[in-house]
Point group: C2
Chain length 388, copies 2
Amino acid sequence: MPQALQQVNTPLIGVPGGRHLLDTPALLIDLPAMTRNIERMAAFARSRGVNLRPHVKTHKSVEIARRQVAAGAIGVSCVTLGEAEVMVQGGIPGVLITSPAVTPSKIARLIRLAQQARPGDVMVVVDNPQNLADLARAASELTHPLDVLVDYGAGYNRTGAATQAKVLELAALAAAEPRLRLRGLQAYAGNLQHIVAREERSAAAAGLRETVAGIVAAARRQGLNFDIVTGAGTGTHDLDSQENAFTELQAGSYVFMDAEYSRVLADGDQPSPFETSLFVQTAVVSTNAADWVTVDGGTKCFSTDSGVPLVAKGADAASRYAFFGDEHGKLMPPTGSQGSQAQRPALGSRVEFVTPHCDPTVNLHDAYHVVEGGTLVAIWPVDARGRR
Amino acid sequence: MPQALQQVNTPLIGVPGGRHLLDTPALLIDLPAMTRNIERMAAFARSRGVNLRPHVKTHKSVEIARRQVAAGAIGVSCVTLGEAEVMVQGGIPGVLITSPAVTPSKIARLIRLAQQARPGDVMVVVDNPQNLADLARAASELTHPLDVLVDYGAGYNRTGAATQAKVLELAALAAAEPRLRLRGLQAYAGNLQHIVAREERSAAAAGLRETVAGIVAAARRQGLNFDIVTGAGTGTHDLDSQENAFTELQAGSYVFMDAEYSRVLADGDQPSPFETSLFVQTAVVSTNAADWVTVDGGTKCFSTDSGVPLVAKGADAASRYAFFGDEHGKLMPPTGSQGSQAQRPALGSRVEFVTPHCDPTVNLHDAYHVVEGGTLVAIWPVDARGRR
């Protein structure tokens, strides 16, 4: 097979100025910024007395998961079984699968994975009595019980039981089933993460904390212990960690940040506590149009679900990007400056962008190009890219 | 490394009803429908006396390219050098790279590729005198001249020289350069492909044909022969093949079709001449919400640049899909039927969708699950996925 892009760029590792010689488009990590983000969130969780089990759907990388665990995370959260398989294979402990495993194929894979891992290192959420019975039947093949958390819809209702009564019913079923071990509760409110107005987000999160505390108290009265209460994303990590409603946070995007979350986490004059550490480097491949230059990153390089990439380096920061097909972007200098050649990046020059939404953008790339200043210091695979 | 999805599903090949047992989400090809599309476009091109060099950015598959060539295509078009590398490695002849190779890294890869392939089997477009000089310098390493086509912006101006004068200037430079061989002209009007109103699309395409014919005539008067005049997408294939303006078509999406192109190619009561042959199969993973069920395909499974997936099988066709995060979709029964349990797909059941936009959706998947009726007959890799 032809060389993958990471192999094309491997000879540039350690070469002075290698960042500016990359085969493009290339997904970049600013290593010092990412390291600060990892340390900041770990310190934040410690200061609040909650555990951190960061979501790897953002980065899908064993190397980054290792760094998160080394900084204090108790494990990782995964949305797909394929992500969990990659993490267990990579030696990452404490893997929580945050979406139900429902079809026979997925349940068979889950059981194989749970058997490979140490007891307790693979946990899965459940939101349906039929699914719970299917898991229990399959778990009879295991030499240890299967760890489950009951999933609560939390008003978002992507997955999860819809009411406290349904949560308690599932928890009682799990507790009564010897082939399962009830570990806790998941309450993830995806709909709150991206509310930009802090007061509105804060009020909604307070309501969720109250509901979750009520569910946990009711469970305790029935002798159902939710040792783990997990939830929270990057958008609500500071809210969900108040009042001991949650025992752990599953925020993920903080490691990279993106255009969207930077808006959400900025608080008045205070910028986000996390820095943008993820970028995409493109090259200018055509300069014939009067009002734009064309760069080699399009809909197969940047996710299209949340706005457009923002210029970080290599062009006037006020230039606007527009999608221009699978492999191209239109980069327009600021209005009023079209006549100025100084504003137009030259053919072959590099333009780096902040990603519009980090998770689905990462999923379009096979490798991270890890940089410190102008130096490429490593290339890491996006190990779980495309794993379902 | 953990098993990739194609390996998970490989044991299902040939198993009766295997289509309904797949690990999900799974990208599906309806093989008879795709085969008819390939044959129809080949027959259409023959009937118009034009060549067909279909664009592989749609499918990124050596197997599908082989079938297109077997049906009469003279080669394939590629937007990235990585796609071209995969096709040459797979033995596909007549590879045209439809975007300029500009950076030193890309030019070095192009030269290596041209040397590997038979003379004439790798061609690249050029839209800039500086890039032309760079290519000529690099081509001195080749044992044969490098084949180039001059790229004309065609009013779209993603890449391409902006005017007839600039096209002729580039053509003269290429013709005068012994290390290059001038092969023709590219005029791709991406902006015309998706105009739904047929009369408007037709008028715009007629204007382009006139311009292209004018450029070619002017070139001939200067002794510059454009043997190849390439352009056209699925949206304008029947227009661009009129009046001998183009010698070949580079349409790609016709092989699969999608929600968007089906709207464009329908002509009054006449449906599109091409059938939808690409689908994504999801499974229902949560059924607790009152107004929807949740399926396991989200923004990492369907492209988000052009509307939403449409139900093809497994649920009421009038159900609406909404994106629901990286790995999930919200599937809502038709308004007014929320109370009817019969309308709600059961937990674990399969729902298949027409993709909103085929090219970037394919790019999210590692493998095609090739089906005939209820049988999985093959699994093909998306060979060039992620190749830049």
